[in-house]
Each structure stands twice: as structure tokens, then as C-alpha cells.
């Protein structure tokens, strides 16, 4: 869409009766650096002579020419004349262009550094224009150009006429020519028609050129790209480009009438011109695609087609063991670099290899020419002079029509012993005696110590598993001892039982049956009381029968004899001490073990 910022001086009122009617417009009013705007000064009632170009800091003005035309304003026909001036900015900013005639108003021109702030004609969405000097129209040859959209545009696909190979990158040029003012916008990038080809790396910005073809001004945009075929065969290629074109909706009769009357008149009289979106297509281009030969194809062929050279180098030829060294292979030339690949080295004797990585540096905008660099880190596993073998790279050359193999020379490097290996060896001499540290430390260091025979491990003892076994075992021993002591009450009870039985035996041996029975009764009562958790007075004959079973009778008899001895005396003559001792001992032992 064309934005027009115009300051019109209307020819109305007496104030303007004696002054020429003039106005000026600028198209477009918003541009970016590298583009130009057209300033048109129009006079409605007199022929404009040369005007004095304004002086605006940051803008340059150049008169392109004069025009004369018929204008209809408010139904009144009048002849007008214009001066066309090109305005080119040197810097970005918002400029005020003063009126060039006494009655014209100042104009505003906005110049941006990028496209983000405006919707300008002939813009490509999301892309910034390439800064370029103002285009100079030149006359071109229209022969062979197939015009479309009523002659307001053309699309051409320029490519080599030779046969190409599958996967080969073929540089192509796509030219789109449009008539400014008629074609108002490009609605997308050109695209190739057909699924058997890929169009890679369409240059970000087209080259712009103004030229005159068949007497009409054209803005020609040229994209450089790379085409690649995915299968062999004969193909016909076309390129589509979406455009917005202003076309006339006049009937053909009116067109004929307009031709009779002349353009400027009808342009105003029948001004039914409407914008229309359309896709213009180029003339078909024929391409013969060959399959890559299978004979002689190297095993390491990765699909690279083109003309390549390789070289290799290393980041250092002298290093310390353990230090990484970078082996680089440079593949330069022209071709399909996306298929240029190399595994470098999977394994080299006495070296540790790492996976390589690659980077591509293009020398043209489409990535057809350049250099791909493979970098592989290596670490030497052995000291001394080592040789890194040469690298090789296979590709298909479409010029010679055969597979080629490029080879590099082996590289010799010297590996010194690691610094860490000598950490416990005293330096024989200063490597850099004049270094600042060395010179300063001679005075600043405290003196050496006398050697002592005391040796220890650097790893603290308490962090060594073998040593930790000692405190762990000690802790276990003490824990075991404490647990052992926890069982003492039963052991003590057992010993008390033994002592009681021993005392009872002594009484028995003395022959005092009364004392024996009383002692035995008390002993049993205490024991049963502890076992059954009952007070001694609650241990009755019924309780004995219920809990002791067959022993209840003996214990009951013992209790009865003891009571008899206690209350009547002499009831226990002829006491069988050994029998009673056995009974008491059995009961007490059961109680201790329980």
C-alpha cells in the first residue's frame, strides 16, 4: 500500500487568487536507509520552471525531470506540470522538507534503519533491505523476457544448461522484475514448482536494480540460490512469485476509447484501477539430472559432489602428555557442503580420540563456495615423537565425472612428560630464572626445614576404610559388652539361687529339721512370689495346685510340715533332707531359668 503524505494547497479563496496553484507530495513518506523517496512538485495553472532545491541536513536532492499532464480537480480540467525530485537520506531520522514554492507546505519524511516500523510497498515480510546506493535506471534488453500481469512483471529462472547429478548443488538465479506503481507488493519469496528439487539457501536479500525494458521502468530483484535434484530424470522447472498488481477493471470498449483519447485524460476519467493479488510464473527451464555412478564409489563417500581441496593441521606440534591437541581438516571449494562429512579418526594408536565437530564458512551468500573445517580433539597417551596419520576425503567431481580422493600428509608432534607426573620431584633448575616470582621468592621465602623421619599419609587416617575398621570394631565390642551386662539380673538371680540352696544344704547337714523346713518354706514362697508376681500371703494350696501341677502336692506338704513345725514343734522328725532339698532345688532352678 502506498502511503502518501501530501500537503496540498487548495486553490480556493481570494488569498490565493494572484498566486500560482501548486502542491508537493512525497512518495513514500516512510523509507529505510538505502532507499529513496520521490518528491513531486506540481503546479496547476502555470508551467513550473526550475525550483530551488531545499537544503536539509541528512538529505540529498536530485532533479530527475519535468512532466506535463492533465488534472481534474473538483470537476475542472486543467493542465499541470511537475518537477520530479529524488530524495536520498544519508542518515536515519524524521526530516522536515520545506515547501519548494511559495504556497506549498512542508513535508515530513521518516527514514528508519530497518523495516520494522513501516509497511512499505515492495517489502518482503520479516526481512531487512540491503543498504545500497540509489539505483540508477539503465536500459535493458527485453528480448527473451516473458512478461506477465499485463506486462507489469516477469519472473526468470537462470540456471546452467548442462546436465547435473543427483545431490549436486547447482547455483541458480531467480529474477523478478516489477513495474513500480503497478506492482505494489511482493507477497512472498519465489518458490520452485515441483517436489523433485530442493531450493536451498535463498539469499536473504535480493539484488535490486532499476532498468528500463521496452521503454518502461522496471525494478528487478535477483535472488541467488542453490538447486539440488533428489532423483535422476528430465525435469521442467518453473518459479512462482506472489505479487499484488494494480490492474484496470475497464471494459475492452473503454480501453479502446481510452487509447483513442490518450492516457492522461483517461487515467483520471476512468480511474477504476484495483489492486489484485496474483501469482506469476516463469517460463519453464529444462534440466537433465543424472544419477551418480556406482562404479568406483569409495566406501567413505558421503555424497559430496563438487570440486574440493583438503588440507590439515594441528593446534600445536609440541605439547605435554594429557594436553589436548586439535586436529583440523579443511575442505574448501565449491559444491554441496551440506553433504561434506568426515568421521576423522575413530581410533589412533597411542592417542585418545574424541568425536569431531565441524563448522562451515561460506565465501558467497548462498553457501555454494566456502570452507568446511572439521576439528577433532586428540590426547596423546604416550610421550615422545608421535605421528598423526594423514586424512582422506572422497567426493564426486561433476567436471571429470568420476570419484576423486583427496589426501593429507601425516603430521608429526612431540609429546613431553606430564607436569603432574613430576609433582614430587624437585625441579632441577628454574625454567624461568628471571621470572618475577622466582626472583621475589628468593628473598621472601622462609628457609627450608631439617628433614624429619616422620611420615604420614596425606589422606587423614579417619577417612581411610582400613583404619576405620578399628573404631568400628571397638564400638562393636563395647556395644556387645553393654548388651552382655544387660543380662546380668538373671545371672544374679541364678547365683542367688545357688547361694540359697547352698545355705539350705548347710542347714540340712546340721540336722535341724525345724530350721530347714522354715528356711525351705520361705525360700519357696519368695521364689514363687517373684515368679507369679503375687504377694506371699496369696500363695495358697489352691494356687499351688493350679500353677504347679504334680509338684503342688510336694510343695503343699512341705508348707504343711513347716507350719506344723512352726506352730506345734517336732512334727518333722525323720525328715528326709535329701528329698526335700531335691524338691526345693528343682523349684528354684525352674524359677531362675524362667
Amino acid at each position: 500500500m502506498i502511503a502518501v503524505f501530501a500537503a496540498c494547497v487548495a486553490a480556493s479563496g481570494s488569498a490565493l487568487a494572484d498566486a500560482p496553484l501548486a502542491y508537493q507530495t512525497i512518495q513514500p513518506s516512510k523509507i529505510v536507509m538505502g532507499e529513496s523517496a520521490i518528491l513531486r512538485v506540481t503546479s496547476l495553472d502555470s508551467e513550473l520552471q526550475n525550483v530551488k532545491l531545499p537544503e536539509v541536513s541528512g538529505l540529498s536532492f536530485e532533479v530527475l525531470g519535468h512532466t506535463r499532464q492533465m488534472e481534474f480537480i473538483n470537476g475542472t480540467a486543467s493542465e499541470s506540470s511537475s518537477i520530479v525530485i529524488r530524495v536520498t537520506p544519508q542518515i536515519a531520522g524524521i526530516f522536515s522538507i520545506p515547501g519548494l514554492t511559495p504556497k506549498s507546505q512542508p513535508l515530513i519524511l521518516e527514514v528508519n534503519t530497518d523495516r520494522n516500523s513501516g509497511n512499505l510497498p515492495l517489502t518482503l515480510n520479516g526481512t531487512a533491505p540491503r543498504p545500497a546506493p540509489p539505483p540508477t535506471p539503465k536500459t535493458g534488453n527485453a528480448a527473451g523476457i516473458h512478461f506477465v500481469a499485463d506486462g507489469s512483471a516477469f519472473v526468470q529462472l537462470k540456471m546452467p544448461r548442462r546436465a547435473v547429478y543427483v545431490g549436486e548443488s547447482v547455483p541458480v538465479d531467480i529474477e523478478v522484475g516489477v513495474r513500480p506503481g503497478v506492482v505494489t507488493a511482493l507477497n512472498g519469496l519465489p518458490t520452485i514448482k515441483g517436489g523433485d528439487f530442493t531450493l536451498n539457501n535463498l539469499s536473504r536479500q535480493p539484488e535490486r536494480q532499476e532498468q528500463v525494458l521496452d521503454g518502461k521502468p522496471f525494478l528487478t530483484m535477483t535472488w541467488h540460490s542453490v538447486l539440488a535434484a533428489v532423483k535422476p530424470g528430465d525435469f521442467s522447472l518453473t518459479v512462482d512469485t506472489p505479487l499484488t498488481v494494480k490492474i484496470s477493471s475497464r471494459p475492452s470498449e473503454d480501453e479502446a476509447f481510452a487509447n483513442i483519447l490518450g492516457g492522461p485524460f483517461l487515467q483520471n476519467f476512468y480511474s477504476n484501477i484495483v489492486p489484485k493479488e496474483m501469482t506469476v510464473t516463469s517460463q519453464p527451464s529444462e534440466l537433465h539430472v543424472l544419477a551418480l555412478p556406482t562404479n568406483g564409489r569409495p566406501a567413505d563417500f558421503s555424497g559430496a559432489v563438487g570440486a574440493f581441496k583438503i588440507s590439515s593441521d594441528v593446534s600445536a606440534v609440541q605439547m605435554t602428555a594429557g594436553d589436548p591437541v586439535t586436529l583440523r581438516m579443511h575442505v574448501s571449494g565449491a559444491g554441496n557442503f551440506d553433504r561434506v562429512d568426515s568421521p576423522m579418526f575413530d581410533r589412533i594408536d597411542h592417542w585418545k580420540t574424541y568425536p569431531p565437530k565441524s563448522s562451515f564458512s561460506s565465501t558467497d551468500p548462498i553457501g555454494y563456495k566456502g570452507e568446511k573445517t572439521f576439528e577433532q580433539p586428540l590426547i596423546a597417551a604416550q610421550t615422545g615423537e608421535q605421528t598423526i596419520p594423514g586424512l582422506s576425503f572422497s567426493y564426486f567431481d561433476p567436471e571429470t565425472r568420476r570419484y576423486e580422493r583427496a589426501q593429507t600428509e601425516p603430521i608429526k608432534v612431540t609429546i613431553e612428560a606430564s607436569r603432574a607426573d613430576g609433582s614430587l620431584k624437585a625441579p632441577s633448575e628454574a625454567t624461568d630464572p628471571d621470572s618475577r616470582l622466582a626472583s621475589r621468592t628468593r628473598e621472601g621465602l622462609r628457609p627450608d626445614h631439617a628433614s624429619t623421619p616422620s611420615y604420614a599419609t596425606l589422606m587423614p587416617l579417619y577417612l581411610q576404610p582400613r583404619f576405620l575398621a578399628l573404631p568400628a570394631t571397638l564400638a562393636l565390642l563395647f556395644a556387645g559388652g553393654l548388651l552382655g551386662l544387660q543380662r546380668v539380673p538373671s545371672r544374679v538371680a541364678s547365683r542367688a539361687t545357688e547361694r540359697a540352696l547352698a545355705h539350705l544344704g548347710a542347714v540340712a547337714r546340721s540336722g535341724d529339721s525345724s530350721a530347714f523346713l522354715v528356711e525351705a518354706r520361705q525360700l519357696l514362697l519368695r521364689n514363687l512370689s517373684q515368679r507369679w508376681r503375687l504377694p506371699p500371703e496369696q500363695i495358697t494350696a489352691a494356687e499351688l495346685n493350679a500353677r504347679l501341677g504334680s509338684d503342688a502336692e510336694d510343695i503343699g506338704r512341705l508348707f504343711a510340715l513347716a507350719d506344723e513345725e512352726k506352730y506345734s514343734g517336732g512334727g518333722a522328725d525323720g525328715t528326709d533332707f535329701s528329698q526335700w532339698l531335691q524338691i526345693v532345688s528343682r523349684q528354684l532352678t525352674q524359677g531362675a531359668s524362667a
Partner: protein, 222 residues
């Protein structure tokens, strides 16, 4: 009595075994020897190796003022930050780690014996409580010393003049910054020939193992 005899014999055997097993002759160092070696490196203009051996000497003899003074001197000469020593560090490092380890063992013995005595002779309450406190103090001192020293076991010293700190453990990894020679870093992980380190300023990155030397050989990898 026979139990006590057996227990004493086992303990004596363990003590002798632990002492002998913990000190293989090929990994034993002398603080004086490491200090003199570090002085040699410092005089030869090799600050990385000098700081490494000072650090090792300081590990064995933490109270040696000469070691600390020369270590600080070399670090100051290289404009490297000095390691701050807090009160906790000063208190816990008044003895060598080896001595502290034996103090811990003694503490276990005393505390364990006190507990046994307390069980067997509860009436001697004061004796076993004092013993328990002494033993606990010995164990606590050892634990504090271990807490203080354990991070240092994972430290390493940069011994190469230009050592890049990389984002990934590969030789072509993007360098994040350059480490200075003699800078002490903490190793937190390892991958093939690279170690993940944390610098004193808190930055993390990968460094080639060849450019580092462990303060405690073999102790850096967790």
C-alpha cells in the same frame, strides 16, 4: 577376667593392624620434605607445584607457621586470594590429622570403658561420668577435625600456566574463563579426562585433569 584379657588382646591387635595398614610406605609423606620441595618449586618459578606441595605439607603439619607463611607469600605474589582461617578451623587443626585420628580411637576406648564401668559399678558414678565426658570430647574433636578437613581432600591445585574453565568436558568445550596457575579449586565430579571444579569465587566448569594436581592424591573424586 578372661573376657577382659581377650578384649584387650583384640584391641591391641586392631591398633597395631590399623597403624600398619593405614600407612603403606609408598604413600607416606614428610611435612618437612613437602615443605622443602615446595620451596624449591617456588624458587624455580613454578608457583602451581609450589602451592600444591605447601598445601600438602600444611595438611600434615597444620600448626607449622613456616608452611603457612610461605604458602601465603606465594599466593600473594600471584595476587591470588588467601584462604581465610576461622576460629573453628584453628581450634580443630591444633594437631595433625593422624594424631587426631588416634585421639578419636582413644576417645572411643575411654567412653566405652566408662559405660561398662557405669553398668558394672553404678556406685562409682563420678568416675564413669568423667570418663564418658573425656571420651566424648576426644570423639567430638576428631569429628570436628574431619568436618574441617574433608572438603580439602577434594581440592586440587592448577599447575598449568593457562587453564581454561570449560562449559563441557571435552577439549573443544566453550571456555568460560581462565584459571590462574596455583589457584586452588574443589573437584566435585569427574568425566574421563576432565574434572568438574568449583573455584573459590564460586564458578563451576570443567578442567582437564592434566592441568590439575590433587592435594590428596586419589582423594579428589567423590
Amino acid at each position: 577376667m578372661k573376657y577382659l584379657t581377650v578384649a584387650a588382646s583384640v584391641i591391641a591387635f586392631l591398633l597395631l593392624g590399623a597403624n600398619a595398614g593405614a600407612q603403606p610406605p609408598d604413600t607416606a609423606y614428610s611435612a618437612a620434605g613437602l615443605y622443602n620441595l615446595a620451596n624449591s618449586y617456588a624458587r624455580a618459578g613454578k608457583p602451581g607445584m609450589a602451592v600444591l606441595n605447601y598445601e600438602r605439607a600444611a595438611l600434615l603439619a597444620p600448626t607449622d607457621a613456616d608452611i603457612q607463611a610461605n604458602l601465603n607469600f606465594v599466593r600473594s605474589s600471584l595476587h591470588l586470594p588467601l584462604r581465610p582461617q576461622g576460629r573453628f578451623s584453628r581450634i580443630t587443626r591444633i594437631a595433625s590429622p593422624a594424631a587426631v585420628a588416634w585421639i578419636g580411637v582413644l576417645g572411643i576406648l575411654v567412653a566405652g570403658a566408662s559405660l561398662l564401668v557405669g553398668k558394672m559399678l553404678p556406685q562409682r558414678r563420678a568416675v564413669w561420668i568423667v570418663g564418658l565426658c573425656l571420651g566424648g570430647a576426644g570423639i567430638g574433636f576428631t569429628v570436628c577435625n574431619a568436618i574441617e578437613l574433608e572438603p580439602r581432600v577434594h581440592e586440587a591445585v592448577v599447575i598449568a600456566a593457562t587453564t581454561p574453565l570449560r562449559a563441557t568436558p571435552v577439549p573443544m568445550g566453550d571456555p568460560l574463563q581462565q584459571l590462574s596457575e596455583a589457584e586452588t579449586v574443589t573437584i566435585t565430579a569427574a568425566h574421563e579426562d576432565f574434572a568438574l571444579v568449583r573455584t573459590a569465587s564460586g564458578h563451576n566448569g570443567w578442567v582437564a585433569r592434566a592441568d590439575l594436581a590433587d592435594v590428596v592424591p586419589g582423594g579428589s573424586v567423590r
